[in-house]
Structures are given as structure tokens and as C-alpha cells.
Amino acid sequence: MNKVRLLEFTYLFCLKILSLLVPVLSEKRPFIGFMVASEKALKKPLFGCQMCGQCILHYTGMVCPMGCPKNLRNGPCGGVRSDGNCEIKPNMNCTWVRAWDNSTQMMVFTESIEEIQTELDHSLSGTSAWINELGGGK
């Protein structure tokens, strides 16, 4: 299995388990602490996670859009270099070129990249994205 599919599979697996746990535990302090700590510990090294608290990795080919220096969440800017590198960081691949490539390799979420992402809620920064998604709380 390639890396993108493996990550997608892991996401679906976590979603299954956490959709059972989060609704029950999302108010419990130790659980919240555990979720924040584990998201930081896992998603930071894997995706360069910035803890925006509104994870959309599976919409963007499992590439974190917050890695884009303009924090774009709906697709690439018009400044991508001819070699596919970033306008602002010339030595970095454009986040959205990678996201687009990866999304075509996904099994379930291939077309999710076309969905409109709403503006980021900055008040959720630093909180658990899983709890925000499944527990409905801030």
C-alpha cells in the first residue's frame, strides 16, 4: 500500500474508534489533555501540524494545508513556480501541488479536495481537532 493510502486508512480507522469514544468522553479533562498531547505528538512530525484545531487532512490528500505559507485551505495561489515550488519558499514544493497529486491517489477522498472549506476559526487554535469534529465543543 502506498503512503497516501496508508495514511488515509489510518484516518478512517481512527475515525471509527474516536467516533465511539469522543461523544462519551469529550467533556472529561484527562481525555481532552490526552487528545491534545497525542495529536501534537503524532501529527506534528507526520504532517508539520500547527494545531489549527480544524483538521482537513483527508480533504487535501493528507497534506497539511497549514504548511502553505499563506495558510490557504482551498487550493493553490496563482504564484506557484513553473517547477511546482512555492512562491514564498522557493526550495519547498508547493503544498497544493503535493495535495493535488496525493488526492488523486486516495481511495475514498479523491474528490474531497474540491469541497469548499470555510474560513478558519482561530479561536480553536491549540485545541483537539478530533474533539472539535466529533464532540461538537470548543
Binding site: P69, K70, N71, L72, R73, N74, G75, P76, C77, G78, G79, V80, R81, S82, D83, G84, E87, I88, C94, W96, V97, W100, D101, E114, I116, Q117, T118, E119, L120, H122
Partner: protein, 310 residues
């Protein structure tokens, strides 16, 4: 202008009339006249004039002030808003203020990074992206409410546009990105500088396929290169501008004094190559600091107001 259309530009594009827009270079001046005189050079040749929003991350004349000056001069502006300098609070405040000044055409762009400009130490905002900028203004338009839900006294009547750049990667995705912006509220599109007709054609084919032959109106961005040196600078320093070598070499063949003419000829060729393509609603001329070239391009391509409207 009828009540049905938000603006003259909207009326033209919505009724399928070939449209010419142009960008005015905002002067580093503190006088109204400095801008008005430039806009008057363009006005006889185009249907509306784009006002940029400190493009290239270099501070210029305020976009709202510039648009108001154009309106005072009976010229219809297309005002650009970028995501670089304003958060959602400032953006909503500014667009309704612009509406009060008579602005109807709003063009939403991401904006260049601050690194591009002459204040690279500035803090970039990017609270919104071009798509959420569109959804935010479209929300004001369709509901008459701010994002927070607070109500305005009536609904603003905007005609929203957005940028498309088919000339940089990821190429296969650019038509889909245009359609995402269309779903977010954009009713018309202006492209980045087109120097590569075949690249534009493949983009257009895909767009036509995805929309069953009826895409939203797209104006092709064109512009004259005043010298080979300027062309190199443009392609190396302005994000998103891709100029194929053969175009630069073609201009370079001429002695420096004649390169301006060669630049206009190259631009005319591009306009001729795109103006009749299915799916092209018009052209958008960006003649940076060279307003006088617009008349030559429009006349040479038969796109004067009388030429187009007959």
C-alpha cells in the same frame, strides 16, 4: 444599465457581449489627478478598469479611494481585494464602504506574499483565502448580513470576480479551481498574463468539458512587454507570470529602441490567437505603467468599442 445587472460589466458579460477591461497603474501620488489622467487614457477602449490592491506587496494608492476617483470620473471600476493585508473584519468593513461609494465589481485574489514587495518585514494576514474571501462577500450579498449574523440595512449588489492562472502548476487542477471559485460566488474571471496560447487552450478545453460547454465568463489576461529585459524581470520576479523563452527571444532580436513595438506586436498576436476561442468572454489588458499601449493593442485587434459592438 438596467436594474437586473449589478453593473455595466455584469450586463455585458451576462448578455454575452465581448468585453475589454484594463488595469490602471496606481501612481505613487497623493493627488487625485495623477490617477484620473491615467484612467482617462484607458477609458475610451475598455468597459471597466481594474484597481489593484497594493499589488506585488508594494503599497500603492488605496483601492477604495482609487475606485471612488474613477466613479467621480464616470469610469466603472473593478476593485481588487486581496487576502494579504486585511482580516475578515477589515475586509467586510471595506467592501460595504466601497459599495456605499458606488463600487459593484469586486475581484477577489489571494494576494502576493509580502516577500515579493518592498516591505518584506511586514506581517502577512491571510486570515481568509481567495475562496473564503468570495464566500464572505457573497454572504454579505445574498443575506445582507455580516459573517457574525449582524444585519445591514439592505443587501449590497455586488458582481464578484476571481483570478485564474492556467499557466502555472498544478495545470490539470486550474479549471477545477476556477469552478470552486464559481461555486463560492465568482461570476466572472480574469486570467493571469497569457503568453502561451496552447496552454490556455488545453485549460479552456477542460473547462468547457467540465461545464458542458457553458463556462462562466473568462477574460484572458494579456499585456505588452516593453523590452526583453523587462520580460525577464517579470517572469523572474512577479509570482505566477510565466513567459516562454521564444517570446522573449523574439523581442530580443530587435534593437532596444524597437523592442517596445515588438512587444506590442507579440501582444497583438496573443489577442488574435485567443479572442475567437469558444469560452473566451473578453480580454483584460495589463499594460504596467504603459497606458498608451492599450489603444494600439485594441485598435490593431479590431476590439475598439465600435468594432466590438457592431
Amino acid at each position: 444599465m438596467t436594474n437586473k445587472h449589478a453593473s455595466n460589466l455584469a450586463q455585458r458579460l451576462e448578455t454575452g457581449l465581448f468585453t475589454v477591461t484594463a488595469e490602471v497603474t496606481l501612481p505613487d501620488s497623493i493627488e487625485k489627478e495623477a490617477l484620473a489622467s491615467r484612467a482617462h487614457i484607458l477609458e475610451p477602449y475598455c468597459d471597466a478598469i481594474n484597481i489593484t490592491d497594493s499589488t506585488g506587496a508594494v503599497p500603492h494608492f488605496s483601492n477604495i479611494a482609487a475606485a471612488s476617483i474613477l466613479i467621480e470620473n464616470n469610469i466603472e471600476p473593478i476593485i481588487q481585494f486581496s487576502c494579504r493585508d486585511r482580516n475578515r473584519i477589515a475586509t467586510q468593513a471595506d467592501v460595504i464602504g466601497a459599495h456605499a461609494m458606488g463600487v459593484r465589481n469586486i475581484f477577489c485574489v489571494t494576494g502576493d506574499g509580502v516577500q515579493t514587495g518592498d516591505h518584506p518585514e511586514a506581517k502577512a494576514v491571510f486570515d481568509l483565502d481567495s475562496v473564503t474571501l468570495l464566500t464572505t462577500i457573497n454572504h454579505l450579498k445574498t443575506t445582507g448580513k455580516f459573517l457574525s449574523g449582524r444585519e445591514l440595512d439592505s443587501k449590497p449588489d455586488f458582481f464578484l470576480g476571481a483570478a485564474v492562472n492556467p499557466f502555472v502548476p498544478p495545470f490539470e487542477q486550474r479549471a477545477l479551481r476556477l469552478l470552486k471559485k464559481h461555486r463560492a460566488g465568482a461570476s466572472f474571471f480574469q486570467s493571469q498574463y497569457c503568453f502561451d496560447i496552447s496552454r490556455f487552450e488545453s485549460f479552456l478545453l477542460l473547462l468547457l468539458e467540465l461545464t458542458n460547454g457553458s463556462p462562466p465568463p473568462v477574460l484572458v489576461g494579456v499585456g505588452p512587454l516593453r523590452s526583453a529585459r523587462f520580460a525577464r524581470w517579470l517572469t523572474e520576479n512577479v509570482p505566477g507570470v510565466a513567459i516562454p523563452d521564444h517570446i522573449i527571444n523574439q523581442i530580443e532580436k530587435y534593437p532596444e529602441k524597437e523592442q517596445k513595438k515588438a512587444g506590442i506586436e507579440a501582444c497583438v498576436k496573443i489577442v488574435e490567437g485567443v479572442k475567437n476561442l469558444t469560452g473566451v468572454a473578453g480580454i483584460h489588458i495589463m499594460a504596467h505603467d504603459w497606458e498608451s499601449s492599450v489603444s494600439e493593442i485594441v485598435e490593431a485587434t479590431g476590439l475598439t468599442k465600435t468594432g466590438r459592438n457592431n
